[in-house]
């Protein structure tokens, strides 16, 4: 058993092979083969284990098949084959052998099921993850902090995600940190993990959820402990008030009289809950659930016509349309909300 786990670790060639084959090099931000948390490591070890058993079975059976085909291929003049009908001992053997192998797969499987069942220690950082068509709402109940699409977690500290959905079924998946769990309306699913390397990882909704399922992405940022504290403190502050006379201030006024307030929350400015909380939207690196960089050009075209950028996006085109100047003002305002 042990031996095989050890051998399994040698299977580092897998990601390497992928690197070679994909040619483009670079990191794989959503790879399941580069685990970055205890949860992901546990499943990866198990996968490695099963992989080698499977590879062994594959080699043995395919070799047997090929050897048989070559050895007993038709040759002129070969005597008629002996009509064997069966062999009881053989049958028993090839029933028991796979069954025995499966025991070696099943036992660690069950152990890992219980180890990864989502229970975290009491002091874990709690995050509520709520799937929406097609973005992620993230709430840190203990910090009274609400954000969207970019999950920040501290290095080395247990994190407990409570996952649910506001509309249809989604699935939360940040591969380097661990396997997915469905976000189901009316249910709460849990994932617990402890990230073990600082970094910026990709993730994505994995359950088909309608038009923009492909565009329901996610970023997970594992911060150092102090980095996380800094981020949290910033997020907890009220929204920055734009300096008087700036274009951003005008943007705030346009925002406050536009439809935006019906859907978006900016602390102290608007209470909407249909779209992502924008209180600190300027501090995020991407918009529209990880689709576009958070820059003025993208913000402007997003505000002008979101569904054109993201099929089906539930932030419809503004009617009546905002003027370019108004949009520019709003963009300036949003960018000021660090």
């Amino acid at each position: 058993m042990r031996i095989f786990v050890a051998v399994g670790r040698l299977r580092l060639w897998l990601p390497t092979a992928a690197l070679v084959m994909s040619g483009c090099g670079g990191p794989f931000p959503q790879s399941t083969l580069l685990p970055r948390s205890d949860f992901a490591r546990a499943t990866d070890v198990l996968f490695t284990d099963i992989f080698w058993w499977a590879a062994g079975v594959f080699l043995v059976v395919e070799t047997l098949l090929v050897v048989t085909l070559i050895r007993f291929r038709h040759r002129e003049g070969r005597a008629a084959p002996k009509p064997t009908h069966g062999h009881t001992l053989l049958e028993i053997a090839w029933t028991l052998a796979p069954a025995a192998i499966l025991v070696f797969v099943a036992v660690p499987t069950v152990r890992t099921i219980f180890a990864t069942s989502g229970e975290a220690p009491a002091d874990a950082l709690k995050v509520d993850v709520i799937g929406h068509q097609w973005w992620w709402e993230l709430r840190y109940p203990d910090l009274a902090l609400v954000t969207a699409n970019e999950l920040h977690v501290p290095l080395g500290r247990a994190v407990q995600l409570s996952i649910t959905s506001a509309d249809v079924i989604h699935a939360f998946w940040a591969p380097p940190l661990g396997g997915k769990r469905d976000a189901i309306p009316g249910h709460v699913n849990q994932i617990a993990f402890r990230a073990d390397r600082v970094g910026d990882y990709g993730g994505q909704c994995a359950e088909f959820c309608g038009a923009s399922h492909a565009n329901m992405r996610l970023r997970v940022v594992v911060d150092s402990d102090s980095g996380f504290g800094r981020w949290a403190t910033e997020q907890l502050e009220g929204p920055a008030a734009p300096a008087p006379g700036t274009i951003a201030e005008r943007g705030k006024a346009v925002y406050a009289r536009s439809a935006c307030i019906g859907c978006h929350t900016i602390q102290g400015v608007s209470p909407g809950v249909i779209g992502p909380n924008l209180t600190h939207v300027g501090s995020r690196t991407t918009i529209a659930s990880g689709l576009f960089p958070n820059d003025s050009a993208h913000l402007a075209s997003w505000i002008a016509d979101a569904p054109a950028l993201k099929p089906g996006a539930l932030m419809m085109r503004m009617k009546p349309p905002l003027s370019d100047a108004d949009i520019a003002a709003i963009v300036a305002y949003l960018e000021s909300l660090k």
Binding site: S117, G118, I184, H187, V188, N189, Q190
Partner: protein
């Protein structure tokens, strides 16, 4: 699966048997409704009702549908899916009411 190549004329029960089975069915139904109304039975209501209705079920199937006397193969053809259906029902109840789960989300 047996190999019967000869055609058997199965002996169907007589009207007399049918009537008697009918009488038992009526009595069982009266019992069921009775049990339902007697408060003293409420703790054991569910098992009692299940037994009574399973008995009725079996009586109709065995006598009116002739499974008792007819080819065993028909019993097989009916019994296997029936067992599957019961199994599915039990499994779903377990899955939904959490008896099988520590913290299942399905319930």
């Amino acid at each position: 699966m047996t190999e019967t190549s000869h055609t058997e004329e199965h002996q169907h029960p007589t009207a007399d048997v049918y009537l008697r089975v009918g009488a038992v069915l009526v009595i069982l139904t009266v019992l069921e409704v009775g049990v339902f109304y007697v408060p003293a039975f409420h703790t054991v209501l569910v098992p009692v009702l299940l037994v009574l209705s399973a008995t009725k079920f079996a009586l109709v199937v065995m006598f009116y549908m002739h499974l008792k006397a007819d080819s065993k193969f028909f019993t097989f053809l009916f019994g296997v899916p029936l067992l599957l259906a019961v199994g599915v029902m039990v499994a779903l109840l377990f899955l939904f009411f959490g008896a099988l789960t520590l913290r299942g989300a399905a319930g």
